[in-house]
Symmetry: C2
Subunit: 338 residues, 2 copies
DNA sequence: TTGAAAGCGCTAACAC
DNA sequence: GTGTTAGCGCTTTCAA
């Protein structure tokens, strides 16, 4: 029983490439990173050897030695609604050419989870962090502040950022929508939203909304919350509940477009005159709405642009002030009287 | 001009905690990882010092020293359709308790991008990789095969996996749907799908579908492809085009539920008798369908379960054969005659 | 243009 | 229970 040749699945190191090519580890390293001057023949030899062996560099060792990690942590509450994937698209677009790579962590709107995701990410010493929202536990804030890397809090600017913030004012967005609704002559307005104690942005929109109602001497005539399940279906159910409980309601303000779309489908099913008898509006400006029988009023949350701007800050392509405010546009669609 | 105290933002190391607590680095390390026996008082001292300083361990160094990385690479084509977020949910669920963390990479259905995402991920020496699909470039396959870690290819089992595969047979799914449609009496059947040369699974479904049609002596009476844009809207447009071009078509088979939903809304708008005059079916079983005025026929792609099983294999909680086949169920909904 | 030495911050393995 | 030593696989720095 002879000892077989060493395990061919042994993970390759620079040394293996060095031996195979007859070039020092240092020079191999230089070739693989396109650094410094290496003669063309040497370069060829190295590349050839690396390819033949199937060498994949060990970034862990590289990062430790160089104190440089080409990772950007992105911490978001959820991937399953349509908003964050689009933010991610903007981030990826900009990071594409920079050699930086986004790494996503999902918190499910849980502060505890956010804290551990941040901790976990920081322990990989990323080059920057992009985090949804301005509300974080004290521990989270402290960690981020101490990290010594650019931190960009996205989506929201109603508050004080740790480092940078890129987003919209949700309070103002709520106010604007309320003003448009009131201007269109609606008076008996209900709110339908998610039961998410930690969705601070939805909360701020509602605050702004109610504030504007108050200025016009109005208050919400009804409100309905849900959690979990198919948003479209929930939108239907909630709408049914509100119409049942408050038959004279004349406007339904939804905290997001998906439940709004469900509500719209329900109203159309019931043969209600939209937007004459009843108006509807959502929030986010999701592309789904384009395929609906009628276009739901909404407000674009500037998701793509937020992702882009945040990534630019991390990549050092922008030297912004502390806050970058974007301004969503109201899209009246077909569900608000003109 | 005196030199100020050393930068307080200097990144903390074990040594700092060691000095602050008067305990050796090694013991500090043990406490922070809950390894080995450490006396309660020592443990307290260390924890206290770490907390006070705001120490975040450096996983790069840890990983290099221990040759252990608690990361699982997940490579998927897209985040913006509803299917992969749900797979991710399944993965996260299972990985939760294991100390393993998923890291997501998106390929946009591009083989080149897939290759570089895989390379990038492998260079971090993850504990395992989960990858959508069975079709990869030769270079990708070689890298994965050499990596010496568990590789799980998900979604599809029609082919030969590198290591493990968890998924459904899309060919069979297509066949099954065709059989159900034919059994319901439809004969003039059209296909509407995405123009994605690299969506091999959609391609396989269509192959299975056409094969079953062929067995019944039928062929597709029309086909329509799209790319980009709002799927719901595209579904409408494509449906309009097909109905216009082939007025006597009596069934529309969509490559995914979103365009199917758009088509359904279009048919209902036009007052077509669904499923009498015309039937429709999609694929995926997305939860969105529950909110539609009529429920679209579809087939559940077992997304959550695929994610779970794949993660279990990586986490060593399952000792599966090479392939784990799941069986999607046909959900006839309200758009196929009974 | 190339190579040698030192060390990044941590942990395995072993001593005490 | 706790400490010491020796690296992990690279890159930085400096010498040749």
């Amino acid at each position: 029983m002879t000892k077989p040749t060493p395990d061919p699945r042994h993970t390759l190191t620079l040394r293996d490439v060095s031996e195979a090519s007859g070039v020092s580890e240092m020079t191999v390293s230089r070739v693989l990173r396109n650094r410094g001057d290496v003669s063309a023949p040497t370069r060829e030899k190295v590349l050839e050897a690396a390819r033949a062996l199937g060498y994949v560099p060990n970034k862990i060792a590289g990062a430790l030695a160089s104190q440089r990690v080409n990772l950007v942590g992105v911490v978001i509450p959820s991937l399953s609604n349509m908003v964050f994937p689009e933010v991610m698209t903007g981030i990826s677009e900009v990071l594409e050419g920079t050699g930086l790579q986004p790494v996503v962590g999902v918190t499910n709107y849980l502060s505890d989870r956010e804290e551990s995701v941040i901790y976990e990410m920081l322990s990989w010493r990323p080059s920057g962090m992009i985090i949804a929202g301005l509300e974080h536990s004290q521990a989270s804030q402290a960690m981020l502040a101490r990290a010594g890397i650019p931190i960009v809090e996205i989506m929201d600017i109603d508050g004080t950022p740790i480092d940078h913030a890129v987003g919209i004012s949700h309070r103002r967005a709520g106010r604007q929508m309320a003003e448009a609704i009131i201007a269109a002559g609606y008076r008996k307005i209900a709110f339908l939203g998610t039961q998410m104690p930690n969705d601070f942005r939805a909360k701020k929109r509602l605050e702004g909304f109610e504030e504007a109602l108050g200025k016009a001497g109005l208050t919400l005539v009804d409100r309905e919350y849900y959690s979990g399940g198919s948003a479209l279906l929930k939108g239907r159910e909630m709408t049914a509940a509100v119409l049942d409980r408050t038959p004279d309601v004349d406007f339904l303000y939804y905290s997001n477009d998906m439940i709004g779309a469900g509500g719209l489908l329900y109203c159309l099913d019931k043969g209600l005159d939209v937007p004459g008898r009843i108006g509807l509006a959502g929030f986010n400006g999701v592309e789904l709405l384009d395929g609906l029988p009628r276009k739901l009023a909404t407000m674009d949350a500037c998701r793509l642009e937020i992702g882009r701007k945040a990534a630019e800050i991390i990549a050092g392509k922008a030297t912004p002030g502390e806050k970058v405010e974007l301004f969503p546009t109201l899209q009246p669609g077909d569900t608000i009287r003109r």
